[in-house]
């Protein structure tokens, strides 16, 4: 993802989404009450999941307020590296808010205040002096609706590395040691290949990206995100606007990416979470993380009755 510019592109959508979030939260509470949701106490052991392996992102007691609205309540969870973590829950549960905290996208919403800590490889990303451009290079983001720039396919991919100066000095440049135009070509090809799009667009890299299908545009956005060589990829409902075939391509890609990257994906599709993720975090109405565990455990035998009711469609 190319940081500042893309963040601006997304800002309008985010603001709208935040408004919708607030409205839906009220709805959600009504629904769960009528469905007979009892006041179940969330137990700490339901979320104290340890995936084993290295922790990439450590979130500790994270609180987010939008003005008077308490959107996330004391969420703590460790996200393991090189795996897929799914965040699920009804509208307004705080899962997208949580996701946006992981690369400080919420900084762009003036009304949002964030307390608690998020550490990337052990270093707090909310500490003073953190370079947001550098942070968002390391923690990239793919949005719900594909948002390619109205430029060529090639420029969409090379935009981020050019901005960062990676074409001259970046990792790929160092690895390939080629002349600059070659480096750019190699970077574009490699990123598009990694995003499983190369074969479909290799003969028309100079065409406008807006001429691609929705599914191709989304994979282009993933390629654009990969081009700056991130460590973590955040995805906010990356397939919700796509048909089943395009969705399955994105899902295959997500599983593939998890071999090298830490992927965190918000999804409304529980089947999708079940299919692609290694661990699943369930957020419920009120901005509370209720259960976080192996995906098999969440979908076969969850501890929380509310999680059980949510995943089996008894409310929400």
């Amino acid at each position: 993802m190319s940081q500042t510019d893309t963040a601006e592109t997304a800002e309008t959508a985010e603001t709208a989404e935040t408004a919708a979030t607030t409205v839906n939260r009220t709805d959600g509470q009504d629904v769960s009450t009528t469905a007979g949701e009892t006041a179940e106490e969330t137990r700490p052991e339901w979320t104290s999941y340890d995936a084993g392996g290295e922790t990439k992102l450590a979130v500790d007691d994270l609180d987010v307020h939008y003005g008077d609205d308490h959107a996330l309540k004391g969420v703590s969870m460790d996200i393991p590296e090189e795996s897929v973590t799914a965040l699920i829950g009804p509208s307004g549960c705080g899962k997208s808010t949580f996701l946006r905290c992981l690369n400080r996208m919420n900084d762009r919403i003036r009304a949002a205040s964030v307390d608690g800590s998020v550490a990337l490889d052990g270093e707090g990303i909310y500490q003073d002096g953190v370079d947001l451009v550098e942070l968002r290079k390391r923690v990239g983001m793919v949005f719900q609706s594909p948002n390619p720039f109205p430029k060529s396919i090639r420029e969409n991919v090379s935009y981020g590395p050019r901005k960062h100066g990676d074409i001259e000095t970046g990792l790929l440049a160092r690895l390939t040691g080629r002349a600059e135009p070659d480096r750019e070509e190699a970077l574009v090809e490699r990123s598009l290949e990694r995003a499983a799009l190369w074969e479909e667009v290799s003969d028309r890299l100079d065409d406008n990206a807006l001429g691609l299908s929705g599914g191709q545009q989304q994979r282009l956005c993933i390629a654009r995100c990969l081009a700056v060589d991130p460590e973590v990829i955040l995805m906010d409902e990356p397939a919700s606007a796509l048909d089943p075939i395009a969705t399955s391509k994105i899902e295959d890609l997500i599983e593939d990416l998890a071999r090298d990257y830490t992927v965190v994906v918000v999804t409304h599709s529980m089947q999708q979470a079940a299919r692609v993720s290694d661990q699943t975090a369930v957020f419920l109405t009120g901005g509370e993380l209720v259960e976080y565990d192996d995906t098999e455990k969440i979908f076969e035998n969850p501890e929380s009755q509310r999680v059980e009711d949510y995943v089996s469609g008894k409310f929400g």
Binding site: D27, V31, T34, A35, M270, Q271, A274, F299, E300, N301, P302, V307, E308, V311, S312, G313, K314, F315, G316
Partner: protein
């Protein structure tokens, strides 16, 4: 928004539970009648049991299809998934108990033993069919304690079967058969041993049902292994 979404789906799950129970009651009835046929040498009753197996098999196939349809169309998860998966397995156990009832009915048709006592079999038959009945009840009530109790009682049934088999052989020896008796007695003995083995297997299927039910109710696979 409606208060209880997926109402049809919830109704389908309730129907599946009721249908599995109904098939189970039919199988228990078959088993009870086959034991009666054995005890009373009632050949007519034995034939009814044998004919009834086709009905059980059809129920089995229909319910298996219902489970697959639920999985395909509704993608059950969590306790719903465990319920459908357990039901799918339990159906097979019920169908097998039905087959064993048919076996017992066939032994009844083959005639009773003239030399060797069948009285021990009555107790074993009662224990085995009681185990099957309790297992079906445990499934319907989703009762984990009943499941564990069924698994524990199976050891007693196994021991009784072992004793009964030995007793049959001992009686054969004790009857000091002459050359002519032996041919006839061998048929009796093997039929009695098969009867004991089939009753023991009814008990095993009851334990299987209890194991799947415990997984269904508590997500606990302890009895499956």
């Amino acid at each position: 928004m409606i208060a209880v979404p997926r109402e049809d789906y919830r109704e389908s799950l309730d129907e599946l539970r009721a249908d599995v129970e109904s098939m189970g009651r039919e199988v228990l009835d078959q088993l009870g009648r086959s034991l009666d046929a054995l005890e009373r040498d009632d050949r007519g009753l034995a034939r009814e049991v044998i004919d009834g197996d086709e009905r059980v098999n059809q129920q089995y196939l229909d319910l298996e299809a219902d489970c697959i349809e639920l999985i395909a169309l509704q993608q059950p998860v969590a306790s719903d998934l465990r319920f459908v998966a357990a039901s799918f397995k339990i159906l097979t156990d019920l169908e097998r108990i039905g087959d064993l009832a048919t076996n017992l009915a066939r032994y009844a048709l083959a005639g009773s033993s003239e030399v060797i006592s069948e009285s021990r079999l009555r107790g074993i038959g009662e224990t085995a069919s009681k185990q099957a009945e309790k297992a079906l009840d445990a499934y319907v009530e989703a009762d984990p304690e009943a499941c564990r109790a069924i698994a524990e009682r199976d050891d007693d049934l196994d021991a009784s079967c072992q004793n009964a088999s030995e007793a049959v052989v001992r009686e054969l020896v004790a009857s000091e058969p002459d050359r002519w008796d032996i041919e006839r007695l061998l048929d009796d003995v093997s039929r009695l041993l098969l009867t004991v083995r089939d009753l023991e297997r009814v008990g095993d299927h009851a334990v299987n049902i209890a194991a799947r039910t415990l997984y269904m109710s508590d997500g606990d696979p302890e009895l499956i292994y």
